[in-house]
């Protein structure tokens, strides 16, 4: 399939896919045991959002490191695009997580380490953009935010892996058990919907990211033309 054809078809396929996923999440998959009422359905949305937020973080890191090596402004555009999406998805993940917490345990915030990790990721993204706002020189802005991204990435493992080990977690263990291993205890229909949603959200991220980078590329070439 040519790239042009892909560009045209992909958003539509993605749209249909997501609609199917959403419908299936509510009507096809059964509610999980141990959860209050229908609240388990949030897993189909909350976890993929958190996953995309982390994925965006990794994309941002790769782009940042590449920028620091090659100083290609396009890499900086890529890093910023990933970070923008990361911010959006970590906000979504925090909100859906919070709503779920309200239903399950009666309060919006419980200081569960995984909840906190996503919130901190959100803070990192916010700080990333705050930094960018404060630097008018483009080359310097790219360098400094790339440096911060690397620094943040390096401290993240402590938050994600070490802290939960030390603290008891409220987080449902259906996905990740206390020892950090992935366990799929979901019934098969739930599993289908879950993975479908995961792929859908990843596709959503990929699509929006590509659009953002394409836009940046156009802006850059226009600026170059104006210069000469």
């Amino acid at each position: 399939m040519t790239r042009k054809a892909l560009k045209i078809w992909f958003p539509w396929v993605l749209g249909v896919w997501m609609i199917v996923v959403i419908v299936a999440a509510f009507f096809y998959a059964p509610p999980a045991q141990g959860f209050k009422g229908e609240s388990s359905r949030i897993v189909f949305f909350h976890v993929p959002q958190a996953w995309v937020a982390v994925l965006a973080f990794c994309v941002n890191l790769v782009a940042s490191v590449r920028y620091l090596r090659r100083r290609d402004p396009l890499d900086d555009a890529r890093a910023a695009a990933a970070a923008r999406l990361g911010l959006v998805f970590s906000v979504l993940a925090t909100i859906t997580g919070s709503l779920f917490a309200r239903v399950m345990w009666g309060s919006f915030w419980n200081w569960d380490p995984r909840e906190v990790s996503i919130a901190i990721l959100l803070l990192v993204y916010a700080a990333y953009f705050a930094l960018r706002e404060m630097v008018p020189d483009e080359e310097r802005r790219s360098t400094l935010s790339a440096a911060y991204a690397v620094l943040a990435f390096v401290t993240m493992p402590f938050l994600i892996f070490v802290v939960p080990r030390i603290y008891w977690s409220l987080h449902p263990d259906t996905i990740i058990s206390a020892s950090g291993q992935l366990r799929f205890e979901m019934e098969s229909r739930m599993r289908q919907v879950f993975f479908g949603s995961l792929m859908g959200f990843t596709g959503l991220f990929a699509w929006l990211y590509t659009l953002d980078v394409r836009l940046a590329r156009v802006r850059m070439s226009r600026a170059r033309r104006e210069e000469v």
Binding site: R71, P136, D137, E138, E139, R140, E227
Partner: protein, 214 residues
């Protein structure tokens, strides 16, 4: 006044250099070279980008477009090492106000890995015309002319192969201007010298000129 033994001869080329700050294009498509034995003078009205160009040549700023290269006869030097061969004085490059002139020079010598005796540093301060009794007082107490002399001393301390001077005679009286002229003459034979200025006396030193429109 200075020893050139340790420094190689460096030539600098800048190719199609441009710099943009947001939507403002400060420099565009500038090419040129600074060779040892040559003095390049950069002229232009205030805000025309003289200091920006000097900063880019010094490696303190990255150009938006184009490249700057330092060559020492064996090949190109990586940007991380330019500062070793570079001496620079500029209006926005100060010395430490809490330290005295002597302490400043002592610090900069040590940080550059030079072993200069106090006597040698004192000689250097002598040639810049800084009064003896001031040398141990904190720089914060100096007049702007005296501060400029210390800045110049700092710039030539390590007998650099490349000398960049941004408005060197600012804040200086006639004697001060002669000091700058003497420094440029001393360095001209072996070093690559660039001066950014609007002073016609300094423009007269030029072997090559770049005019910035602003």
């Amino acid at each position: 006044m200075v020893l050139f033994a340790a420094m190689p001869e460096i030539s600098i080329t800048f190719d199609r250099v441009g710099k943009r700050f947001g939507s403002r294009q400060v420099l565009a498509n500038l090419s040129g070279a600074i060779e040892p034995g040559q003095v390049l003078v950069v002229v232009g009205p205030n805000g025309s980008g003289k200091s920006t160009l000097i900063n880019i040549i010094a490696g303190l700023m990255r150009p938006s477009r184009g490249e700057v290269a330092y060559r020492d006869g064996e090949g190109t030097l990586p940007r991380a090492r330019w500062f070793e061969y570079l001496g620079m004085a500029a209006p926005d490059m100060a010395v430490y106000e809490e330290l005295s002139a002597r302490e400043n020079l002592r610090f900069f010598a040590r940080v550059r890995g030079l072993h200069r005796s106090d006597a040698a540093l004192d000689d250097l301060l002598e040639t810049t015309g800084l009064p003896r009794r001031e040398r141990d007082r904190p720089v914060a107490t100096y007049s702007s002319g005296m501060k400029q002399r210390v800045k110049l001393a700092q710039a030539v301390l390590h007998a650099p192969a490349v000398l960049l001077l941004d408005e060197p005679s600012s804040n200086l009286d006639e004697a001060g201007h002669e000091l700058v002229a003497r420094i440029v003459q001393d360095f001209r034979p072996r070093a690559a010298v660039a001066v950014a200025t609007n002073d016609p006396r300094e423009m007269a030193w030029a072997d090559a000129r770049i005019e910035l429109a602003g």
